[in-house]
């Protein structure tokens, strides 16, 4: 018989990873199932709340003030079940864990930061990787800047970004370089450049190419390629060699910042003794007495895991937490109740960019104030079955710009409630 874990976290996106870190930080024995591939699709930016109400496209420079309004306007939004102090603490705890794992983010503060995107729009976000911070500072100051791109990096054009951002950020010049490293030519990939920039020699050659074009630029922007394992060192080195701050501009997924985040979170959970079943997929969850039994379809042999509690962080359709057929949406693992529009005709609007967003984006799992999954009648399914992250109903994270806050905040709340529940469960056993 295998041991019974305190909690099984199903899913390894930002919500699942956060839940695993938070639970392990509280001394719980954690098993986590699922690979962290979804994190590769992350931009690396942590949003808390950027836009509300989306109908009006109102952006918030103070996300905490926005949160107060959002909680009032949409009482069923997952944020309405969270205290601001708890979200703040959760961000702090996760950023600290990432920092320990070698990936530095800006400290969670009072304000949103504005960053330039890889297509030239500006995005309000909350915590940014340190490698992107000088870009936010330069944009906020409206200072002149030199934007560099590389021959063959197909989805990133400094010219396109500068043209798109010209109205907001006029003092931008561009420079196209062939990346100074043999073997990187033709179709060039960000990850290959990032890998090359792990090496000091490549950084020096790049700095030598950029320096003569610096002019009045007070910062140099590069696509997000400043190393994979030690991006802080790559950025610091280049900044030193060029003479002005160097910053990264987020790139299309799958991105290097996403890869760094995946690596750092994997290190963070490993360092905390979280047992990980990366290659398995939970095929079924059964409730046996006081425990959950998870059948993990893994090679070479299926595994059965036992846990006192389950945190479902399986994501939406991409993450396979939800599955849609022509007739409806279902939760894939336990067939939990999914709040959803009455018919498929109501799922999406005629215009992709309709300011009101699409109704299907607000479909998902219903939970109580402790993030325990509820059935269609609103009753808790099991006192220790939690759901966190984007699988929850009543949000539109991509339009509200609240994805990371949702993942981190709800994971933190679920772990807090779980700790209380387990205390009770252990007390009686």
């Amino acid at each position: 018989m295998s041991a019974t874990y305190d909690v099984a976290v199903v899913g390894a996106g930002l919500a699942g990873m956060s839940a695993a870190v938070f639970a392990a930080n509280r001394g719980l024995r954690v098993v986590q199932v699922g690979n962290a591939g979804a994190l590769l699709f992350s931009s690396g930016l942590f949003d808390l709340l950027g836009v509300h109400p989306i109908e009006d496209g109102r952006t918030w420079s103070d996300p905490w003030a926005g949160l107060v309004v959002l909680r009032r306007d949409i009482p069923e939004h997952p944020y309405a079940k969270l205290e601001a102090a708890q979200v703040r603490a959760a961000f702090g705890e996760l950023v600290a864990a990432l920092d320990e794992a070698g990936l530095a983010y800006t400290a969670p503060g009072e304000r949103n930061r504005e960053v330039l995107t890889g297509v030239g729009t500006a995005k309000s976000t909350y915590c940014v990787p340190r490698t992107m911070e000088p870009g936010a500072a330069t944009l906020e100051a409206g200072a002149p800047c030199l934007l560099v791109d590389f021959e063959g990096l197909r989805e990133y054009s400094a010219k396109a970004i500068a043209a798109g951002a010209a109205a907001r950020w006029p003092g931008m010049r561009t420079l196209r370089l062939s990346f100074p490293c043999p073997g990187i030519a033709g179709e060039v990939y960000a990850a290959h450049i990032a890998l090359a920039l792990e090496e000091r020699g490549a950084r020096e050659r790049l700095a030598d190419l950029v320096r003569p074009h610096l002019g009045d630029a007070r910062a140099v922007g590069l696509p997000a390629v400043l190393g994979i394992m030690r991006s802080d060192r790559a950025a610091a080195d280049l900044t030193g060699a060029i003479g002005v701050p160097v910053f990264e501009v987020p790139t299309m997924p799958t991105s290097v910042p996403g890869l760094r985040l995946k690596n750092a979170l994997e290190r963070a959970v490993a360092a905390r003794g979280v047992e990980r079943r990366v290659h398995g997929r939970v095929a079924a969850v059964e409730r046996t007495g006081d425990e959950f039994a998870l059948s993990v379809a893994a090679t070479p042999t299926p595994v059965s895991l036992h846990a006192h509690a389950v945190i479902l962080a399986t994501g939406r359709f991409m993450g396979r937490g939800l599955e849609a057929s022509r007739t409806g949406v279902r939760e894939t693992l336990m067939d939990l109740h999914v709040a959803q529009p009455a018919t498929r005709s109501d799922w999406h609007r005629a215009d992709l960019f309709d300011p009101r967003g699409h109704a299907l984006n607000r479909a998902g799992l219903e939970v109580d104030d402790g993030f325990r999954a509820c059935d269609a009648r609103g009753a808790v399914v099991h006192p220790r079955l939690f759901a966190v992250g984007t699988i929850l109903a009543h949000h539109d994270w991509a339009r509200m710009k609240c994805g990371a806050g949702l993942a981190i905040g709800t994971a933190s709340a679920a772990v807090a409630h779980l700790t209380g529940e387990l205390g009770y469960a252990r007390g009686v056993s």
Binding site: G57, V119, E155, M252, R326, R344, A398, G403
Partner: protein
């Protein structure tokens, strides 16, 4: 005088509408040495010509209802296979009946085909299933016919390219806003640029209205009424090709009884819904469901197959009217000489089928030439549609073949789903030129497979816009506008097929477009220049 303020063009024949009919008329006239200008409000194949099955009919579908149309399709289909092979995949077709279908229709079908000159071969169901392994186990009868798949974009592009080589001129993004009359003739046609609103006058000896579903609106500008019925048809595109041949349900034509091969995909449809309004025609969820349910009677696998998009076109059906050809309506197309209604130099050609576009053009050009006193006979019955390099890229599967055959070391794939390379776009763009107006991305997408694969443009649009800025083809925030409009256009086709895998794909697209790039916010305030 306004006339003096705006530029004036002059030609022998003005053709209104750049669909299969308009481009075929331009080609026919140009081959006879007649000077012509084709104006198109949007771009080539913006209407039904770009939103159909791509079925080159053998005629078998019409044998019971309209033997003339069937015979016409038989002749024209064979002609096009010979003269425009680059636009056609001669897949052959299979008519299949399933349990419950009309036994008498099944029995009569081979005889009716033979009567219309269509070669037909009934095959045992077992043999049919060997030919098409995905065929329904409920199939009870099958007949092979010479149906084929045609690339409607390639066809129109090629016809226009040949016309241009013979001196015809294409004016895109320019619509007709008025006719200036002098007695019983149209003295000048007022044109307006769709984006800039700039107007100019064009004088022509004869005006040909080939505006498809919009022909009625154009005729109204001349004070004429062409009574038309608008029939909306929706089609669904799958992620994988489910059958080698054109599959038709062996029963009287009805909803969703055709499954076409389209390169690497299958296309199932259509529906038929009479509509009043041509604005905002898009596929709906009930139409898509009906197609999946009905067409899966032929191919049950369709039910489980990922659908990547749907599209809807409008069939222009001529209700009645003074047709030149007495059988015009029954043959599916109508050539109307408005001289009888008091406008001497105005002709409308509408209705019809893609398969018969050459014939429609021949009849129209014959009438026009008789008026002009041009004696040169029609050449399109024998003159091949010579292939043009920049028109090759609409064919599904051509991009991958070209890429695998040879690639320059500095070339790169910009659309990975459909394997559209930078050099392919360069070839298209060089032929087309950049006019400084919005719609460059749409121009390239129309002339290639850009954005037509699984990701529906999520990744390639960014790459192509990056490429276009490097080429100096885009300025200011144009690239952002182009991408937004491109994603919106792709969405029109996707929003009714969003379940299963394609919904996951769209979730990623929204995460990028909205979550990361904030296009929905920029779209609120964006003002076109």
């Amino acid at each position: 005088m306004r006339e003096k303020q705006s530029a004036t063009m002059d030609t022998q024949v003005l053709i209104i509408g750049g669909g299969a009919t308009g481009t075929a008329v331009a080609r026919d006239l140009a081959l006879r040495g007649v000077a012509c200008v084709l104006v198109e409000r949007d771009d080539l194949n913006a209407g039904a010509s770009g939103r159909n099955h791509g079925l080159l009919h053998s005629g078998a579908r019409y044998v019971a209802r309209d033997a003339d149309a069937a015979a016409e399709c038989q002749v024209e289909g064979a002609l096009l296979k010979r003269l425009a092979p680059q636009c056609i995949q001669d897949t052959g077709g299979l008519f299949v009946a399933v349990a419950g279908d009309d036994e008498r229709y099944i029995a009569d079908f081979p005889g009716l085909c033979a009567k219309s000159g269509i070669s037909v071969r009934p095959v045992p169901v077992d043999e049919a299933r060997e030919l098409e392994p995905s065929l329904s186990p409920r199939a009870i009868a099958a007949c092979l016919v010479p149906d084929a798949s045609i690339d409607p974009f390639g066809l129109s592009l090629e016809m226009m390219a040949q016309a241009e080589r013979c001196g015809a001129r294409l004016v895109r993004r320019t619509g007709v806003v008025g006719f200036e009359r002098a007695g019983d003739t149209i003295a000048a046609v007022r044109l307006r640029h769709s984006q800039t609103g700039e107007e100019c006058l064009l004088t022509a000896d004869i005006v040909v209205n080939a505006a498809g579903a919009w022909a009625r609106g154009v005729a109204q500008l001349a004070g004429l009424d062409v009574p038309m019925l608008y029939s909306k048809g929706t089609l669904v595109v799958t992620h994988a090709r489910l059958a080698h041949r054109v599959l038709n349900r062996l029963r009287p034509p009805g909803d969703a009884d055709i499954i076409m091969p389209g390169g690497t995909v299958s296309i199932a449809g259509t529906t038929s819904l009479t509509i009043d309004d041509l604005a905002d025609v898009r596929p709906t969820v009930p139409e898509v469901d009906l197609i999946v349910e009905e067409a899966s009677a032929l191919l049950p696998a369709l039910r489980e197959t990922r659908c990547i998009r749907a599209y809807a076109g409008v069939r222009p059906l001529v209700a009645a009217g003074p047709a030149v050809d007495g059988r015009g309506v029954s043959r599916g197309f109508a050539l109307l000489d408005h001289g009888r209604e008091g406008v001497a130099n105005f002709v409308t050609i509408t209705g019809g089928k893609l398969t018969t576009c050459r014939l429609m053009a021949e009849r129209t050009a014959d009438l026009v030439c008789a008026r002009l006193g041009v004696t040169m006979p029609c050449r399109t019955r024998s003159e091949p549609l010579a292939p043009t390099a920049e028109c090759e890229w609409t064919e599904p599967g051509f991009g991958p073949r070209a890429w695998m055959r040879a690639q320059a070391p500095d070339d790169a794939l910009l659309c990975e789903c459909e394997m559209v390379s930078r050099s392919a776009l360069h070839s298209i763009a060089s032929a087309l030129g950049f006019d400084g107006h919005d719609g460059v991305l749409a121009d390239l997408a129309l002339r290639s497979r850009l954005g037509k694969g699984a990701c529906q443009g999520t990744f390639c649009a960014v790459r192509v816009v990056a490429y276009l800025y490097e080429q100096g083809a885009l300025r200011g925030e144009q690239g952002l506008r182009e991408q937004r409009e491109f994603f919106r256009e792709r969405w029109r086709g996707q929003h009714a097929v969003l379940w299963g895998e394609q919904l996951a794909q769209v979730e990623l697209a929204e995460a990028i477009h909205c979550g990361l790039h904030g296009y929905e916010l920029a779209a609120r305030t964006a003002v076109r220049p």
